[in-house]
Amino acid sequence: MINKEEVERIAGLIKLEITPDEADSLQEHFNKILGYFELLGNLPLESVDPFVGDEDVICPMRGDDVSRWDNVMALNELANFNEEGYFEVPSILGEDN
């Protein structure tokens, strides 16, 4: 069983703000879903190798060819990009630190 503190810890790991109501609902759903995962315990999986990629498909190496991207400004416009060419973000440490 996952408790509310564990739900909040996981939310912290993925940098996600959740309200107390959301934490309650996530805790309830989490425990139902984790309970469902227990079905895998009934399978004979001890001697099975884990799936580590598709053995039938080989990703080909592609040529080390330089190609030009002409739409850099479109990318920049999607972010807070300043005149010096850097992403603008708030203070990393915050005012209190």
């Binding site: 959301e22 469902y36 895998l40």
Partner: protein, 489 residues
């Protein structure tokens, strides 16, 4: 016959011969959208100006005797809103990307435009393709054109509804655990998930990278083959895209012969938990194949029905938690102001993501976290291998497998939204196919006794889409092509 009743092949033929103008097609499509969109809510972005310009260009070319080699000339197309079109929003059904404008075209967009199609709009979907009902969209739910009180399925519900309602004869979605086949079944159209790697995913916003695949929705099997001819190409920009040769799918299904085709049927799947009429529909489909010379073979797929759902809901959220880490308010998407960077991340993600996305990235992070990895993620990977091996064994005895597409007909809006496990169970028959990377189609099987669509799923070994299309063509010869849904009138 009105434009909305025409197949993609018929529209392309008429436009090429100069018997129908592309501009007439586009005007008819937008009339249809204007009349029905308020009740269906199938589209997030409508691209009317772009479509009209494109249609005018096509008419000019045809008048000069050009572009007649283009397979889908003048065919209107809808794309799920997680496929990038340069200069237009790609919202993924999320507040997070509401204002994000794609800076480039997805691979399939280039292929479709080369083939002469006209992009009409971007369709509604469950947020970041996580859902089975198109109710988890920041843009409101889509309605099923067969019964407006019911869901169209998901996550590609807007694309399926667009084809069923007669907006377009061809739409595209993405399928990670059934997100093409389940809405196709619910909306009474054909929907195919090709083999993992057959179609380029360049420009498809990633959800679960080892499972995602793009595929078409159509009302005829012929259009399905035509669509595959256009989009199934190797694309160097997607490193998982297969380099092998693709056949001409359209040629392969001409005069399709399935005599001697061994068709596997999994009796265990036809028992508990399956709607009676849907079980009868699968039996009927199997009967049609047998009447056409196929040989039925009873199959045992072990415990894959029981293990596929927990396996999928470990692996897909684990990959999603990694793929969605990029939405932090810095480089693109929603940005919530805060005094420091950490608060900006936390607030942006808290505001930008909806409930289902939060739930899944939380699960994904949990199963990958220290202390739980072996118990969940590693066990999920082993279960996935088990599913792959079971299918491998099965396909040493049969050429295709038939099974239900969904356990139930389309359910009512709001019916399952508070119960994630019940919602996840609506993909129980489609999930195993994604885990094994196989191709699968959901084929229209007529209406049930209450007037709701029924479907059947046909699965083949990797790269054998031709077998699926041949079998589906035989089903269609008896059942008929998918009719237009009444909600689109």
């Amino acid at each position: 016959m009105s434009v909305r009743e025409l197949s993609a092949r018929e529209i392309a033929g008429l436009v090429k011969r100069g018997e129908l103008k592309a501009t007439e097609v586009v005007r008819a499509v937008f009339d249809e959208i204007k009349n029905n969109e308020k009740k269906l809510n199938a589209l997030i972005t409508i691209m009317e100006e772009r479509a009209l310009k494109r249609a005018e260009l096509i008419d000019e070319k045809v008048a000069k005797g050009q572009w007649k080699e283009k397979a889908l000339l003048g065919v209107p197309v809808v794309l799920k809103d997680n496929i990038c079109v340069e200069g237009y929003p790609t919202t993924c059904g999320s507040k997070m990307l509401k204002k994000w404008i794609s800076p480039y075209n997805a691979g399939i967009v280039d292929y479709l435009e080369e083939a002469g199609t006209i992009l009409i709009g971007k369709s509604n979907m469950d947020e970041f393709a996580m859902g089975s009902s198109t109710e988890h969209s920041a843009f409101g739910p889509t309605s099923n054109p067969w019964d407006l009180e019911r869901v169209p399925g998901g996550s590609s519900g807007g694309s399926a509804a667009s084809v069923a309602a007669g907006y377009v004869p061809l739409a595209f979605g993405s399928d990670t655990g059934g997100s093409i086949r389940q809405p196709a079944a619910f909306c009474g159209v054909h929907g195919m998930k090709p083999t993992y790697g057959l179609v380029s995913r360049y420009g498809l916003v990633a959800f679960s990278s080892s499972l995602d695949q793009i595929g078409p929705f159509t009302r005829t099997v012929e259009d399905m083959a035509l669509a595959l001819d256009v989009i199934a190409k190797h694309d160097y920009r997607d490193s998982t895209c297969w380099t092998g040769n693709r056949p001409s799918y359209s040629e392969a299904i001409l005069n399709a012969n399935i005599k001697g085709m061994r068709v596997g049927v999994v009796r265990d799947f036809m028992e508990e938990g399956l709607d009676d009429e849907l079980a009868q529909a699968v039996e009927k489909g199997l009967g049609i194949l047998v009447e056409n010379g196929a040989i039925p073979v009873d199959l045992n797929l072990g415990d894959i029905k029981e293990c596929a759902l927990p396996c999928y809901y470990i692996i897909a959220p684990a990959e999603a938690s990694s793929n969605l880490a990029r939405y932090d308010g810095v480089r693109y998407g929603l940005r919530e102001d805060a005094d420091n960077l950490l608060d900006q991340y936390i607030k942006t993600r808290g505001k930008g993501f909806g409930d289902e996305v939060k739930r899944r990235i939380m699960i994904g992070t949990f199963v990958l976290s220290s202390g739980y990895y072996d118990a969940y993620y590693l066990r999920g990977l082993k279960a996935r291998k088990y599913v792959c091996e079971k299918f491998k064994e099965a396909f040493s005895n049969v050429d295709v497998i038939v099974m239900p597409s969904t356990p139930t007909p389309p359910f009512k809006k709001g019916e399952l939204v508070g119960d994630p496990i019940q919602m996840y169970l609506s993909d129980i028959f489609t999930l195993p196919v994604n885990l094994a990377g196989l191709p699968g189609i959901s084929v229209w099987m007529g209406l049930n006794s209450t007037g709701l669509p029924m479907a059947m799923q046909i699965i083949a070994p990797k790269w054998h889409e031709v077998r699926i299309l041949k079998a589906a063509a035989k089903i269609e010869e008896t059942i008929g092509a998918c009719p237009l849904a009444p909600g689109g009138e």
